[in-house]
């Protein structure tokens, strides 16, 4: 029932790029919704979310402004606007991966430094406790001897 309705509605839409527009805008809306939901559930930090929101805005701008994609295709020398789109998407994903690798390197470094400091502090704490216990034992032994002498 719903599918026939959607099919009829899609059939009515001409020319073809209108469909593309709808699909692109729906996709962008989905990205925005998913990102907001992840931020709301605190599964995604705000500092990472803006990239995706920006991506969604970019998709909407390109969908609404067909001429823009053609102009960009002219600039980069692409034969069709589709290849420009794919090219842009790949560049974007590569940039994102590189950025994540850099962040990962930094995190690894920080995590190692923290683990090392923790290990050193634990050892120092254990050593201090041992010394304190030894000093207390010595004190007890001394007070015991002096009380024995008094008795």
């Amino acid at each position: 029932m719903i599918s026939t309705f959607v099919n009829d509605w899609l059939q009515e839409m001409t020319p073809l790029h209108e469909r593309q527009q709808v699909v692109a805008i729906a996709g962008a809306a989905a990205i925005v919704l998913i990102v907001f939901e992840l931020v709301r559930r605190r599964k995604l930090r705000e500092e990472f979310s803006w990239v995706w929101i920006l991506t969604a805005i970019g998709i909407v701008v390109l969908a609404l402004n067909q001429g823009l994609l053609t102009t960009i295709s002219g600039w980069v020398g692409a034969a069709s606007s589709v290849s420009t789109l794919f090219f842009g998407a790949i560049i974007f994903l590569i940039a994102l991966s590189v950025q994540f690798s850099v962040r990962l390197s930094r995190l690894t470094h920080r995590q190692r430094t923290l683990a090392q400091r923790l290990a050193l502090l634990e050892e120092e704490l254990a050593e201090a406790r041992k010394q304190k216990a030894a000093a207390e034992r010595k004190d007890r032994a001394r007070s015991k001897t002096s009380s024995d002498e008094v008795a």
């Binding site: 190692r112 683990a115 090392q116 290990a119 050193l120 634990e122 050892e123």
Partner: protein, 250 residues
Amino acid sequence: MRASTVLIIPAYCESGRVGDVVRSVRRQILSGQLPAIDILVVDDGSPDATTLEAAAAGARVVRHPFNLGYGCALHSGYSAAIRSGYDRVLQMDADGQHDPTMLARLIEALDNGADIALGSRYLDRNAPDSSFARRIGTRLFSWIASRWIGTRITDPTSGFQGLSRRALESVVNDGFPEDYPDADVLVQHHRSGLVVREIPVIMHERLGGLSMHRGSRIAYYGYKMLVTLLLLPIRRATPLRSPDTVARGL
């Protein structure tokens, strides 16, 4: 009373061996063949009884919460040495490869003005057999290291070393490599004006456990060492480790 020298023994999964190594060093000290030195085992997050065995044998033990790599274990040891105010550091492996009777030679070299006393198994030509890949790697990196440093280095991968206080300050502060510190660290030492001297030592076959140079790691090791050596002259100091927050506790 605290000794002025500390022996660092990085260990990963060395249960069954590390205790013997610590005890053999202690025997050397008790018999007067070695001066008084403290022993610090850095357990690199072993899931086995490495920490217990080392502590039972009488060593101080710093234990990483999880495995961080050989270089990190050494760095933790160096940092502990700085934090405890030691004047110099010796380092040897926990797998029984390094003969504790040779520590005296390293100490002597440090006494005679070396900043880094590097125990070489190849100077006396009585090295234990090693794999083909390892021999090729050692040749290549000893050639590169010798070229950089200007004197002949035969065993740049040796973990049997002695470091002066100056060298210690330099390694904790200047981006110490976290996985395989060897030829690149030597070159770095040389560049910062430290005296590197090779000392002939006897090494044995490892008594068991896992070598860090195994399988595909050898390929990564080769790649990493080449990249590091190539970038050495133009690389920046590690921002997070200068001044070092691990050693100083800042």
